[in-house]
Amino acid sequence: MARRVTTQKKIVTTILAWFVGLLIFFPILWTFLTSFKTELQAISIPPVFLNFDWTLENYETIQSQSNYFHFMLNSIYLSLGSTALGLIVAIPAAWAMAFSPTKRTKDVLLWMLSTKMLPAVGVYIPIYLLFVRFGLLDSRLGLIVVLFLINLPIIVWMLYTYFKEIPGEILEAARMDGASLGKEITQVLAPMAVPGIASTILLNVILSWNEAFWSLNLTTSNAAPLTQFIASFSSPQGNFYAKLSAASMLAIAPILIVGWFSQKQLVRGLTFGAVK
């Protein structure tokens, strides 16, 4: 029996959804508005909402004080690099677990995910020492490896859920047809899993882009991504909220745009497997 949806119910749920949506979006909106205020208006009490003197001054100051593109380029390198590395490792891993499961497969998956439950700071000192030892501090390569490793469980888990949906018979057919292991994965499995792989890439790029703990602690200038760029504006002379907001907007803008245009993929990816 289908559930009856009355107009009244629809209105209530719509209002509720908008309320929750705005609640989540509000900090970003506030940052956006603050970035166009003067420093004084930014900290004025009571706060001003829209009736202030809109100015681009903060953006100009930021551009003149630091090299935005240097940081953005690093963010791109880091997120794409760690994602590419992640896929190379995670596709075969997820393939093995999805199509040749053992009774321990679930445990392995859970164990991988459990590493995400550990606070990052818990392994900070050993990793820092390793970086010092191998001369990786403030290098893109070092940070790519760390970002790849911290996101690996999520990539494996996501791909695993996707691969689970692909009928194993198709891979068996490929095996009967004489496909080698490599061809089975590259010519049969991967093309069928394109939507899943795409949303995995997207999510992982976003996670790497926004990652702050490791990028703040393991880089200074050479390999510093946009998170470091924002942090550099929370200065020792006190917080300049308007400039900080402008820096934040610049840092999240690229990923926000990418995310906006691919939101369909992303939503499908995040809820995939939940409903058949």
Binding site: E169, E172, A173, M176, D177, G178, S180, K183
Partner: protein
């Protein structure tokens, strides 16, 4: 060539034994059907032959060479799956060409073979479509096409028709039989449908719980089932199995009589009964008759229309020479 011999083949997943130990000889060019209820191990047996599962012990020989340890692709067999297992991202042409491409065959030869297969299976019109744009029957043909281009030693079919609707199933059944007559290649076909088994097979292998209950031609199984299981499984509607005093008269624990071997009359006969349900198909009439000889209703088939209905009294007379006798262990008495 396509001679497949199984010797003492055993398959177990951990402690669960699927196939206890089994010997089977399949000769070149035979159409062999594995039939049995679900969970009887027939699909597992096929997958063992295909190489998709490893045998726990035993030996599989294909054309005289030991194939037990060979990977699926090296066995020279082609398989058609229940779900068709087509590559959804490839066109029909690419699907059919895939095994040839994997064998590094040259382009011209691939095209020649694909075109030939497409023509044979009436797929020319759909050659550039994706599987998603095809009907169930067309998909099945693509799957068969992908199997025949390889010119395999034997075809393996895993319940290929069970996803099709009834009308299409009858059509595809004929097409597969015709294909076998034309190619004369060994075919091994798995089904739970005894009608498919009876109509297509040269040789039927009846399986239960991983054991072979009987191997024989369709008519052998029909006319002389080796035990109660085969007797009940082969034939539609099922054979009536009667035990107790009536069976005692034949010096057996159970007697079996097929619905078509009971003579039906409204005036006289051996057994009296009351019609419980009557099914009038025009070509035949099936009656389910409650009779004192047996606690369950006895099924009877009459040719053409037999005008009785629920509640009417009828008389049944078994044809003496068509009665099957079974002992206490369920084995046929000859």
């Amino acid at each position: 060539m396509g001679q497949i011999h199984l010797e003492k083949v055993r398959k177990a997943f951990g402690d669960v034994v699927i196939i206890p130990e089994l010997d089977l000889q399949i000769e070149d060019g035979e159409f062999v059907v594995f039939v049995g209820p679900s969970g009887c191990g027939k699909s597992t047996l096929l997958r063992l032959i295909a190489g998709l599962e490893d045998v726990t012990s035993g030996k599989i020989t294909i054309d005289g060479t030991d194939a037990t340890e060979l990977p699926p692709a090296k066995r020279g067999l082609a398989m058609v799956f229940q779900s068709y297992a087509l590559y959804p991202h490839m066109s029909v042409r690419k699907n059919i060409a895939f095994p040839l491409k994997m064998a590094n065959m040259d382009k011209a030869e691939i095209d020649r073979r694909v075109d030939y297969a497409a023509k044979t299976l009436n797929l020319d019109a759909y050659i550039d479509r994706r599987p998603g744009q095809l009907s169930g029957g067309q998909r099945q043909r693509v799957a068969i096409g992908r199997a025949i281009v390889r010119e395999p030693k034997a075809f393996l079919f895993d319940e290929p028709l069970s996803n099709l609707d009834a009308a299409l199933r009858v059509g595809m059944r004929l097409e597969i039989s015709e294909l076998h007559q034309r190619l004369k290649t060994t075919m091994i076909y798995v089904t739970h449908d005894q009608v498919e088994a009876m109509t297509m097979a040269d040789k039927i292998v009846v399986l239960r719980a991983g054991n072979i209950e009987q191997v024989g031609s369709p008519l052998e199984l029909y006319s002389s089932p080796r035990n109660l299981f085969v007797a009940g499984f082969i034939g539609s509607p099922r054979m009536n199995l009667i035990n107790g005093a009536e069976a005692g008269k034949y010096k057996a624990d159970t007697i079996g009589i097929r619905p078509e071997h009971l003579r039906l009359s409204t005036s006289e006969g051996r057994w009296t009964g009351t019609v419980k349900v009557s099914e009038h198909l025009g070509s035949d009439t099936f009656l389910h008759v409650e009779s004192p000889v047996h606690e369950e209703p006895v099924t009877v088939r009459a040719d053409g229309e037999f005008p009785v209905h629920s509640g009417d009294t009828v008389y049944l007379t078994p044809q003496e020479d068509k009665i099957h006798r079974f002992d206490g262990k369920g084995l046929a008495l000859r």
